[in-house]
Symmetry: C2
Subunit: 433 residues, 2 copies
Amino acid sequence: MAVITAVETVDIRFPTSLSLDGSDAMNTDPDYSAAYVIVRTDALDGEEGHAFVFTIGRGNDVEVAAIQALARHVVGRDADELLADMGETARLLTHDSQLRWLGPEKGVMHMAIGAVLNALWDLRAKRAGKPLWLHLASMSPDEIVALLDFRYLTDVLTPADALAILRQAEWGKAERIAALLADGYPAYTTTPGWLGYSDEKLARLCREAVDEGFAQIKLKVGADLDDDLRRLAVARSNVPPGFPIAIDANQRWGVSEAISWVSALARFEPAWIEEPTSPDDILGHSAIARGISPIPVATGEHVQNRIVFKQLLQSGGMQIMQIDATRVGGVAENIMNLLLAAKFGIRVCPHAGGVGLCEAVQHLSMFDYVAVSGTLDGRMIEYVDHLHEHFVTPAVIRDGRYVAPTAPGAGTQMRAESVDMYTWQGEALAATS
Amino acid sequence: MAVITAVETVDIRFPTSLSLDGSDAMNTDPDYSAAYVIVRTDALDGEEGHAFVFTIGRGNDVEVAAIQALARHVVGRDADELLADMGETARLLTHDSQLRWLGPEKGVMHMAIGAVLNALWDLRAKRAGKPLWLHLASMSPDEIVALLDFRYLTDVLTPADALAILRQAEWGKAERIAALLADGYPAYTTTPGWLGYSDEKLARLCREAVDEGFAQIKLKVGADLDDDLRRLAVARSNVPPGFPIAIDANQRWGVSEAISWVSALARFEPAWIEEPTSPDDILGHSAIARGISPIPVATGEHVQNRIVFKQLLQSGGMQIMQIDATRVGGVAENIMNLLLAAKFGIRVCPHAGGVGLCEAVQHLSMFDYVAVSGTLDGRMIEYVDHLHEHFVTPAVIRDGRYVAPTAPGAGTQMRAESVDMYTWQGEALAATS
């Protein structure tokens, strides 16, 4: 028996606001940060589980406090038992009735639950000696379904539906694993599109993205319509005809403003409009999708849980699902999101970037390809070339595609030197350093 | 000029789980708690603003950390300036782009914003020498509209709509203020209905509630159907024919289970079914409301913000709005919720109980009667007879109605002795005490 001896947390912040990388219409000065968690056991293998919640600076301490509030459920428990039944372990954390009051299943507390569960998944995959995507893909459909919480979902997805989707994907699994290991998974890049960049820099980065083999670029929009028109014209003239350019408003608009603004940009043929309005406004997304058809609506990086994803699908408000590795309640809730997308025949193109999101979410998309949707058609993972050097097994891009990770674990472990160097010392110290 | 010198926080917890008061199908052992905040200034009047987020125990420390993260926006600022433009002050806290990432506008961080704003409202009302409800009712329609954030709402409620509602309610204001001061505001009681009580206790408390003049009682349901049938029969036989009995499932069900369970209870003619499913499931509420019509659906104590309330109204999923004083972003967001209800012609029957929720929310309902809806028709505020003794100006019930408060402030200040006695000392100390 191995006992969980510690749930250690670290407040890690990178001073990214000093450049304008990562600036958009709503997030003008992010300091990419991680509320970082390490789960330790007394097992002789010395393996640890590492994971984090991505935040953009202030409030990272609040997220750390939320993760600490969960330690009581895990420390002192039998690691083998918790890891063997991750469905039950998820319920243990999600259904603490006192902590549930702080959500339920949303925001600070829900992301903290996701981080603890993801750290346990990292540990489990390391013990299995496999990268997380392959470890998940090695599980049977029944084992996968046992991970999932169907509460509030059975009006659209039952355990039987999930089993049917997973069983169908059993066919050709080995071939898809081989294809992933040979060719990787498609990626697109947001690197050219931040609001803070000059037109010259935008043009150069567009050309580079095409040369590097990315499947799509994405531009931030929504701060100023004239700027958006000019920047989209610059982008269009620096990529080949028909090359996909997505646009991203980061929740800037109300319903009618979204429809009129996107319509004004329609002649640049955006591949999708991302986060046109509040992530909470399901009916708003639906109205926008109808108003700007055939331009598809993409959203998800701020979608709080599977229940909101369910409704975005039911209402026709979302044509592309953008799961995020650290927004919801961990790996299993994201598997549920993948199954919901499969049920509705919707593409999943994950949100990534920030710090560590590329490293984490690639496992989920690769699992989706192998064991859920069975297809790469129209699928791609966001990529931003930031902060990968801080990870033990950084995401690797080759010819515009994510190389399938082969190292055991979930990819979410930072280098010890980086953890030490970027541990937050408080505002006073930061100001003098 | 008065400068804000401190935002002090206290983690206050009452050991209510030692009795079974407050037990329901989802919350089996609540320790009613307050993440408490005191705003101090250097003004000679010595007035302070007091407010809190209500929680049910564990995680109250996380909520306290979230309030502390907001102090930087307030401490050192000119109190007169912040209090004079509470609309701008709300935007200052809500639109901190880094903290916004942790929501946006939901859960731990959003409730913390609400607490800081509510403390400022308490201070403002004290300075004005009026109870909050009357202070708000003294503002002009234009001043009220200037408090409000219409982002994501203008598809159903514009500033012009809000002005029209408020201007209409200018007629008869003085008479309604006089009526409130004379007769108070209707109340209903949940005291009989907790799951942990025996049938004998339930019967006795039902008879007492009727004798005391309450307008309605409410029973918790959803743990066991046979128990619910038995308990509803006991309740029905201990109140006069036609007396309103509401039922409350505390989010226990999925859509189809809610419809079948409520249908099985329909012969007891429930006045409403409260929280039949996840507060996030707008389309689910809509399906349930259609499936159990004419029994109305009530919800709101866990509705995270005005954007979700908007959709519950748009979709027909909610026939009674149950605002909560500490769930959303403070007084002004709740005024927006009242205006949304008025726009749709929906009754508002606030959630209360816990600790301090009665004290706080009565001001919002009384403001609604005087200055928004202009009616008491079908309106009542929940009342539970718990923990009122800890407040400087406790809520007072007379003949089953809330007596209109006349003391200056928002009613949210606890007695100093109670704050001292129930300041949380950590789990280790609690276990030994």
